[in-house]
């Protein structure tokens, strides 16, 4: 991750595939916190303009000390069907920014996290450049009044 005063630049991660090639994937390192629990390490989450919300596995909620019995439940639909999600406020840490979001926690999420429009895209002007000499993304924080 590289950043100046207002723009965070992140290269695409090159993920190996079963065919032996590498696939550029828009992953960024984020952290989460809830109350006194702050993840001291970051993990990789997918920047996904097709996702309505920011979504994480339910195991991550448990790591944060969140009691999912107290969370609001709703359903979310994906390409493979619909599933119940648990919605709970957390702090999302990205670069120098800490943003309070309502995150969705899902039992069967196949990856570490999705950064969707509500909670992530609404806070950044995002440029995807998969064709550049260094394929990557730029994030400029947007503050709305």
């Amino acid at each position: 991750m590289d950043s100046d005063d207002s723009v965070i630049r992140v290269p695409y991660q090159q993920i190996p595939t079963s065919s032996g090639t590498k696939l550029p994937v828009p992953l960024v390192s984020i952290g989460l916190s809830h109350g006194p629990v702050l993840f001291k390490r970051s993990f990789e989450a997918l920047v996904d303009s097709g996702a309505d919300d920011c979504v994480f596995p339910t195991s991550t909620a448990r790591d944060l000390g969140i009691d999912l019995l107290e969370a609001r439940t709703e359903r979310r639909r994906g390409v493979g069907g619909s599933e119940q999600v648990f919605i709970h406020a957390v702090n999302l840490h990205f670069g120098p920014y800490v943003i309070n979001i309502d995150a969705c926690f899902m039992e069967h999420l196949p990856i570490s996290g999705l950064l969707g429009r509500r909670g992530f895209f609404e806070h950044f002007r995002i440029t995807f450049d998969p064709a550049g000499s260094t394929p990557g993304m730029e994030f400029e924080r947007v503050f709305r009044s």
């Binding site: 595939t17 996702a51 790591d63 196949p110």
Partner: protein
């Protein structure tokens, strides 16, 4: 597969495996590893449509 993993920063080495982010993070603490990258793997390593 379907696990949380930590891989070395250059992507060449699997450093830790666990059932949750917390488990992998704890394992890295034990190893004194500050640099590895943590992510969750899908059940099958194929291109995804989410």
């Amino acid at each position: 597969m379907d696990s949380w993993i930590a891989i070395s920063q250059d992507g060449s080495r699997l450093v830790a495996v666990g059932k949750s982010f917390g488990e992998v993070s704890h394992r890295l603490d034990e190893l004194g590893d500050e640099d590895s990258v943590i992510l969750k793997t899908p059940e099958e390593w194929i291109p995804m449509i989410l």
